[in-house]
């Protein structure tokens, strides 16, 4: 007969933990095929930390559900009035102090356990000071687009965030400061972390260390007005080399091309420059996205349309056709003017 000593039990428990952890990871791997924004497919430490906690909570609440549900089901079946009932009232029971005590103490213990698990994850995720090698990004929420500034790297861009991948052995996390230019927004890319709000006059911070390259999706998660639904998020996690070359390219001033000088002239003499910046030119508006490297982006209008010449032209002609309620006005350009401006913008790589 094998002895059931404490060491055997510990081995049993740790085997169980490994099993659950393995199942969890396997689950996470399949989970991302169901949806690119699946909270159960974490790819960054904060997200993984939350994922672990969520499994624990789901297990505990699942167990509670099974127990209480079974009791309810049993009582409804077992104590139903039968057809051959004698018409007498059943024993009138008014209460029981022991039972009340039992189902008060046990839930309190469960609550304590859940709280302790939760507090640990709060401590892990709510770090306030970034490590020395962290990339610093400032994200500013606008109605209805995202502004990104890399203060140490001298880059300003919009809507598509690029981050270096982080090696778990030598982490290179990104710390994002979250500000707002107008009303409340919320940054939510589920696979990279929980959401944090962008609130005017209330700077917030979050961090992430994505561990796999790829494109991660999300969107604004705090109602901010008419086009809240199309304030989409795209995060491009790249290898160190790719990220560095992206940074280098973004730091260049805008390409100048004589062939599109008509369009550039039009751009710079119409109201465009009141809202948009094209670095190296007179355009330095801050109300709308920086367009210096517009063509380096896959989408326009914060993900509302893919970045094709047709969409770009349509957007300039009538933003409401793509994003009704967007704050960019229709510029009332003629067809020929539209062609010229679009051609100009197409050169802003």
């Amino acid at each position: 007969m094998r002895s059931r000593g404490p060491s055997n039990r510990l081995v049993g428990v740790s085997q169980l933990v490994v099993l659950i952890g393995g199942a969890g990871t396997a689950f996470a791997d399949t989970a991302q095929t169901w949806s690119p924004t699946n909270i159960f497919a974490p790819a960054s430490t904060p997200a993984k930390s939350i994922f672990g906690l969520s499994l624990f909570i789901l297990a505990v609440t699942g167990a509670i559900f099974l127990v209480v549900f079974s009791l309810l089901l049993y009582s409804v079946v077992r104590f139903r009035k039968r057809k051959n009932d004698d018409g007498r009232e059943p024993p009138q029971v008014y209460g029981s102090n022991q039972v009340e005590l039992a189902w008060t103490i046990i839930p309190i213990l469960i609550v304590v356990a859940l709280f302790m698990a939760t507090a640990r994850v709060i401590a892990v995720v709510q770090r306030t000071s970034p490590p020395g090698n962290a990339i610093a990004v400032t994200a500013i929420g606008h109605q209805f687009w995202w502004e990104y500034r890399y203060p140490d790297l001298g880059v300003v861009t919009a809507n598509e965030l690029h981050l270096p991948v982080s090696d778990p052995a030598y982490p290179t996390p990104t710390f994002i400061q979250l500000l707002s230019a107008d009303t409340d927004h919320s940054f939510w890319v589920p696979r990279l972390g929980g959401k944090t709000d962008l609130i005017p006059n209330h700077p917030n911070a979050m961090w992430m260390d994505p561990q796999e390259t790829g494109v991660y999706l999300g969107q604004c998660a705090q109602y901010c007005g008419t086009q809240h639904a199309k304030m989409l998020l795209r995060v491009y996690v790249q290898s160190k080399d790719d990220f560095d070359s992206w940074i280098r390219q973004q730091r260049q001033p805008a390409f100048v091309n004589e062939a599109v000088s008509e369009g550039q002239q039009l751009f710079e003499t119409t109201a465009c420059i009141n809202c948009h910046t094209v670095s190296g030119t007179v355009a330095n508006g801050r109300f709308g996205p920086d367009l210096t490297h517009l063509m380096s982006r896959d989408t326009i209008a914060a993900g509302a349309a893919s970045n094709t010449p047709e969409n770009l032209r349509l957007w300039i002609r009538n933003p409401n056709a793509i994003k009704p309620g967007s704050l960019m006005p229709a510029m009332q350009l003629s067809e020929q003017q539209l062609n010229a401006v679009t051609a100009y913008l197409e050169t802003l790589r």
Binding site: W34, S35, P36, N38, I39, F40, I50, L53, S54, L58, T61, F65, V68, L72, V76, F79, R80, K81, E89, P90, Q92, V93, G95, S96, V99, E100, T104, P107, V111, L114, A117, T118, I122, Q126, D182, T183, D184, S186, W188, G194, K195, T196, D197, I199, P200, N201, H202, P203, N204, L217, G218, Q219, A221, Y223, T226, Q227, H228, A229, K230, P324
Partner: protein
């Protein structure tokens, strides 16, 4: 059997002109009539808000749908939420409270009948004012617009900068005015329960229904007032150049959230405690046993009332509070699960060892128990702040609170309608139609709200008029929308049953359920004066004592 407030002979009743009868209803201070006015008012707005929900769901049935514009969609979810909470659920619960409390405590009316009427008409006017915005406001997009800032109206979206025109003002004023009505009703309920009980009915012998509504009234007093204050501040910002929530002047958007949720969280307990009250009366009668653990039920409810004032910022976990604050609200949120769970266990223990009759009221209350269990557990999930950093502001939250409000509160309300309809109308409803309503509705409820959790887990945020394909949300949204049609059908069966039975139902008698509280000792419907003689009671179940003189409750309590 009298069917009218005045004990006039039948022939004279039939010949009174419609105008005169309408005048009676408009000027009534009788708690029973005001109760019915509240209930009918709520049912009308239930239909309106229900249609709003249907349009929302049709828009979301597939990605990139264009059934309605984003502007209209944003108004729809604002109006749906605001209407349902303030002009459907609160009025219908106040209606039942007004109708039943005096009857259950052996009184002739509420403590302040004229205040009662005033409160009803304030609430009614508030609802009309909210919908008048469709005609009277001019938003940015043309004349006549409903508010589109969400039912919680976060700053600074509600400032003059971002909410041009008057639609937001209609939201503010409608809620301010109906808020005064709510406070009036709460004052009345407290005064009635504390001061008008019949001889022998100590607080320890008061029906749980009255206890729960009393605690609810206390919460209204403490919770609606902060909303009133916050809305006055918002009006000061919008019209007097104030800076309460003006972030450009150093004001805080977060402080609006604190003020709103200090109201908003206790508000959901205002909504759920009367639902618990219904369950606490119905489940014992259809299990043929007294409620298990009466004193513990009262104590747990008092605990819920207190703790509910301390959990509000669990609606703000993503706002960037310190980890200390987050931890505090995690603890308080999880703590409130303990007394709530105790109540579920006590209802379970009430059924245990009983002889359960599956009449329509009991069907709805049994479903409530299962569904409220699930709703409570998804609440615990969100109470764990890091988990809420995903779940918050997503469709998981929408699924959770609809599970509570529809699966919990509305189901208990349906139970209450069927249970007390015979008392209020004197007629029995059709049990067949009642069961049909139950099964159609519960299928729709689960289709919609079970599956609604999934898009939340897959990253779908709230309050979006459309969504991208390729995120894995499409199928679930489709199923969710289908369920809505079942629920609509169920509601139509319900209303049809009520109306048909009112005119053609069999006479119900004063006590069709063989129940035990004082309202069942009166006629159905009760005369204007309720009781010929004020009763004297000795136990919690006065009618049990009457029906079982050899074995009365007061020997065992």
């Amino acid at each position: 059997m009298s069917t009218d407030a005045l004990a006039l002979p039948r022939t004279e009743l039939a010949s009174r002109p419609v105008v005169s009868r309408l005048h009676d209803w408009v000027t009534t201070v009788d708690h029973k009539r005001l109760g019915i006015l509240y209930i009918i008012y709520a049912l009308v707005f239930l239909l309106i808000a229900g249609v709003e929900a249907m349009i929302i769901r049709i828009q979301l049935i597939r990605p990139h749908n264009d059934f309605v514009s984003p502007q209209v969609f944003n108004r729809l979810f604002t109006m749906h939420g605001t209407t349902m909470i303030f002009f459907v659920v609160m009025p219908v619960l106040f209606g039942f409270a007004n109708y039943l409390i005096p009857l259950m405590i052996g009184a002739r009316d509420m403590a302040f009948p004229r205040l009662n009427a005033f409160s009803f008409w304030m609430t009614a006017f508030g609802g009309l004012l909210l919908y008048f915005s469709l005609l009277g406001a001019n938003g940015l997009y043309g004349a006549g617009n409903a508010p589109d800032v969400g039912w919680f109206a976060y700053a600074p979206l509600t400032s003059q900068t971002f909410s041009v025109g008057h639609s937001t003002d209609f939201w503010i004023l409608a809620l301010l005015i109906s808020g005064f009505g709510s406070i009036g009703t709460a004052v009345n309920i407290i005064a009635t329960a504390l001061c008008m009980r019949c001889p022998g009915m100590t607080l320890a012998k008061m029906p749980l229904f009255v206890w729960l509504n009393l605690i609810m009234a206390g919460l209204v007093i403490l919770a609606v007032s902060p909303l009133t204050a916050a809305q006055i501040m918002l009006l000061v910002d919008r019209y007097l150049g104030g800076h309460f929530f003006d972030t450009q002047a150093g004001g805080s958007a977060v402080i609006w959230m604190h003020f709103f949720w200090v109201f908003g969280h206790p508000e959901v307990y205002v909504l759920v405690l009367p639902a618990f009250a219904f369950a606490s009366e119905i489940i014992p009668v259809f299990s043929r046993k007294p409620i298990f653990g009466y004193s513990v039920m009262v104590g747990a409810t008092v605990a819920i009332g207190f703790i509910s004032m301390s959990v509000w910022a669990h609606h703000m976990f993503t706002v960037g509070m310190s980890s200390a604050a987050n931890n505090f609200f995690v603890i308080s949120t999880m703590a409130i699960a303990v007394p709530t769970g105790i109540k579920i266990f006590n209802w379970l223990a009430t059924m245990w060892g009983g002889k359960i009759e599956f009449k329509t009221p009991m069907l709805f209350c049994i479903a409530f128990l299962f569904q409220f269990l699930i709703a409570g557990l998804t609440g615990i999930m969100q109470g764990a702040a890091p988990f809420d950093w995903h779940l918050g502001s997503s469709y998981f939250v929408v699924a959770h609170f609809h599970y509570v409000i529809v699966g919990g509160i509305l189901f208990c309300l349906f139970g209450a309608f069927y249970y007390w309809f015979p008392k209020m109308s004197g007629k029995m409803y059709s049990e067949t139609l009642g069961k049909l309503h139950f099964w159609i509705f519960i299928i729709g409820f689960h289709l919609t709200f079970d599956f609604m959790h999934i898009p939340g887990l897959l990253g779908m945020p709230r309050r979006i008029y459309t969504y991208e394909p390729g995120r894995g949300w499409d199928t679930w949204n489709f199923i969710v929308t289908i369920g809505v049609f079942f629920q609509a059908a169920g509601i139509l069966v319900f209303l049809g049953n009520l109306i048909w039975s009112y005119f053609r139902g069999k006479a119900a008698g004063s006590d069709p359920w063989d129940a035990w509280t004082l309202e069942w000792s009166t006629n159905s419907p009760p005369p204007a004066y309720n009781f010929a003689a004020i009763p004297i009671v000795k136990s919690r179940r006065p009618l049990w004592d009457l029906k079982h003189p050899a074995d009365p409750d007061w020997k065992y309590e």
